[in-house]
């Protein structure tokens, strides 16, 4: 059962009360926030007497803040309750019914898939492709991008290393989707844009897909260009995967397969294809340096 939830304020207070540690949040202080929470009740008791005196002469500003604070607190309770109901539903309907299975999973996971999907709230691979606990090691980032081995931001690479070398997954599936905000940002990005934007610094990983889309589809409506780019970007990510030596080795000896997938939630279709490693080496290109096989649409 969920343990007692630490609350860091006393809802009955008429003024909001915070310790110095919580106000000026350097990361050191924040890490001690649990300790600070325990200290608040005693410091509150000491200060309460003084504060009540101050509060009686309170300014409109303080009143407003207190009102805001109280309404914020109701939302907090709602969200806590909501989370609790969600978790208990999972526990009752899924976990308890499959206790044996979950006990085994608790000891070790042996997923057959590494899935790289977008963080978009509409495209969770567990929901759309029905992956159950234990089946898919999942990376989710903006626009389901895989940076190249030699350069680029590092977050996704650790997951690639762990899933391929330690868990030894048999399949990598890169799943793109329709109406992707990240791809849209990539396509509408100015070349000389605001380099202080995180989004820009990340989606630029997919720059090659944008260039190749502009080269073949610039006469199309922007939405269709984006859709073209969504699919091309998947293939470019697959190609970049082959640039990781330990991935290429496993693909070459047949113990790892790379797949692309495209989920169109406007029409509810799923298109999938598999990288043809031999064909890719033989020079049969798809405009992105890889050859594919076994394409199908569901």
């Amino acid at each position: 059962m969920a343990s007692h939830l630490p609350i860091s304020y006393d809802p009955s207070s008429s003024t909001s009360l915070h310790t110095q540690q919580l106000i000026f949040c350097s990361s050191d202080k924040v890490k001690d926030f649990e300790k600070a929470q325990l200290r608040i009740p005693s410091s509150f008791r000491r200060k309460a007497a003084n504060l009540q005196t101050m509060a009686s002469g309170k300014t409109p500003g303080l009143t407003q803040e207190a009102n805001d604070f109280t309404s914020g607190e109701n939302n907090t309770d709602d969200v806590f309750d909501d989370m609790k109901q969600r978790f208990l539903a999972f526990k009752k309907l899924n976990y308890m019914d499959n206790l044996e299975h979950f006990k085994k999973l608790a000891d070790a996971q042996a997923p057959k898939f590494l899935v790289i999907a977008c963080a978009d709230s509409r495209v969770c691979p567990s929901a759309v492709l029905g992956f159950q606990p234990g089946e898919a090691f999942t990376v989710r980032n903006i626009a389901n991008l895989v940076p190249s081995y030699e350069s680029g931001p590092t977050e996704t690479k650790a997951a690639l290393q762990f899933s391929v070398n330690t868990l030894e997954v048999e399949n990598i599936l890169v799943v793109g989707h329709s109406r992707c905000g990240g791809i849209q940002a990539l396509m509408s990005m100015e070349d000389e844009g605001d380099s202080r934007s995180f989004i820009r610094n990340w989606v630029i990983v997919g720059k090659k897909a944008k260039e190749s889309t502009k080269a073949v589809a610039s006469n199309l409506h922007f939405d269709h260009q984006c859709q073209h780019c969504e699919k091309t970007s998947i293939n470019h990510s697959l190609e970049r995967l082959l640039g990781y030596p330990w991935i290429e080795e496993k693909v070459r000896n047949g113990s790892l397969s790379l797949h692309g997938g495209y989920y169109d939630f406007v029409n509810c279709t799923f298109e999938k294809w598999t990288v043809d490693y031999e064909g890719s080496r033989g020079g049969k290109k798809e405009g992105s340096g890889i050859a594919v096989k076994n394409r199908s649409v569901w």
């Binding site: 860091s8 915070h18 919580l22 990361s27 649990e34 989370m83 999972f90 234990g134 762990f162 990340w202």
Partner: protein, 280 residues
């Protein structure tokens, strides 16, 4: 459910396979016998035979892992989703197709056992989800960590989520890796993993200092939770996050899902500034 699906799959195939298996084995044994007979008469063909057998074994391996099983798995998953969810609630999915407005940004581990859609039953449209090793949020760094930064920026500034939730979990391989990094060790083959999980280094140091008496597994559990706190703190290093938190329009929470015990702990990060008192 995976076990039920597994049973169905076995049942469907059961009718054809037993006799099929026997016939296949007979044919194989006959072929091997023929080969042995030949080689006993012409021993010098041994090397040629060995090469051919290696090639054949490789081909058969490829056929086997020609991922027809994997593809079938994905296909049946999607078909189930389409018929049981999408088509039964097409009005909602049509709305979602036009735009998303999730209330949550969730950071969860890539571990196959901890998908937030399962444990917290998030439906399509409810949660913008980032998954990486050990559910880490690195501090603000536009060069090295633009991936996480992009997701936070998009969720907070563009989608205007109301909650950020960082979920740690039991038996986390990433945290275990963090706890076992030796100080000043030479880079290993898992350099990507190590460099990534070092984001949680201060959590590891704290656990090593304050929980020396615990066994390794208990230390890891404490580190799993403390690393969540490090991530919560790191969230505040993003100015657009801080701005929303101070205005009370964004709440930040940490959580720990323990799938060994079947428990879920949830806590909140409190961060406020009061109006300044002017001393004059």
């Amino acid at each position: 459910m995976a076990p039920a699906f597994g049973k169905c799959f076995t049942f469907c195939c059961a009718k054809t396979s037993p006799e099929g298996d026997e016939m296949a084995t007979d044919a194989y044994e006959a072929a091997i016998k023929g080969l042995k007979d030949l080689l006993s008469k012409k021993a010098d063909l041994g090397n040629v035979a060995a090469e051919k057998i290696k090639e054949l074994t490789q081909e058969l391996k490829e056929l086997d892992s020609s991922n027809s099983d994997a593809v079938e798995r994905i296909k049946s998953g999607f078909t189930h989703f389409k018929t049981q969810k999408y088509l039964k609630d097409s009005a909602r999915f049509n709305d979602l197709a036009k735009g998303q407005s999730p209330k949550f940004l969730v950071f969860a581990c890539s571990d196959s056992r901890v998908c937030p859609s399962h444990i917290l039953n998030f439906q399509p449209g409810e949660a913008f989800v980032v998954r990486n090793i050990a559910n880490m949020v690195p501090p603000f760094d536009q060069k090295r960590h633009s991936g996480v930064g992009a997701a936070v920026e998009y969720a907070v500034v563009h989608l205007k989520v109301e909650n950020i939730l960082v979920i740690g979990h039991s038996r986390c391989g990433g945290i275990k890796g963090l706890m076992s990094i030796e100080d000043d060790a030479a880079p290993t083959k898992s350099d990507f993993i190590e460099n990534w999980v070092k984001i949680g280094a201060s959590a590891r140091n704290k656990i090593k200092e304050e929980h020396q008496g615990l066994d390794d597994e208990a230390k890891c559990t404490e580190c799993e939770k403390e690393a969540v706190n490090v991530s919560l703190g790191n969230l505040l290093s993003y100015p657009f996050v801080r701005a929303e938190v101070v205005k009370n329009t964004l709440a930040i929470r940490g959580a720990h899902y323990n799938f060994v015990k079947g428990t879920f702990d949830l806590w909140e990060l409190d961060f406020k500034t009061t109006p300044a008192y002017a001393f004059s």
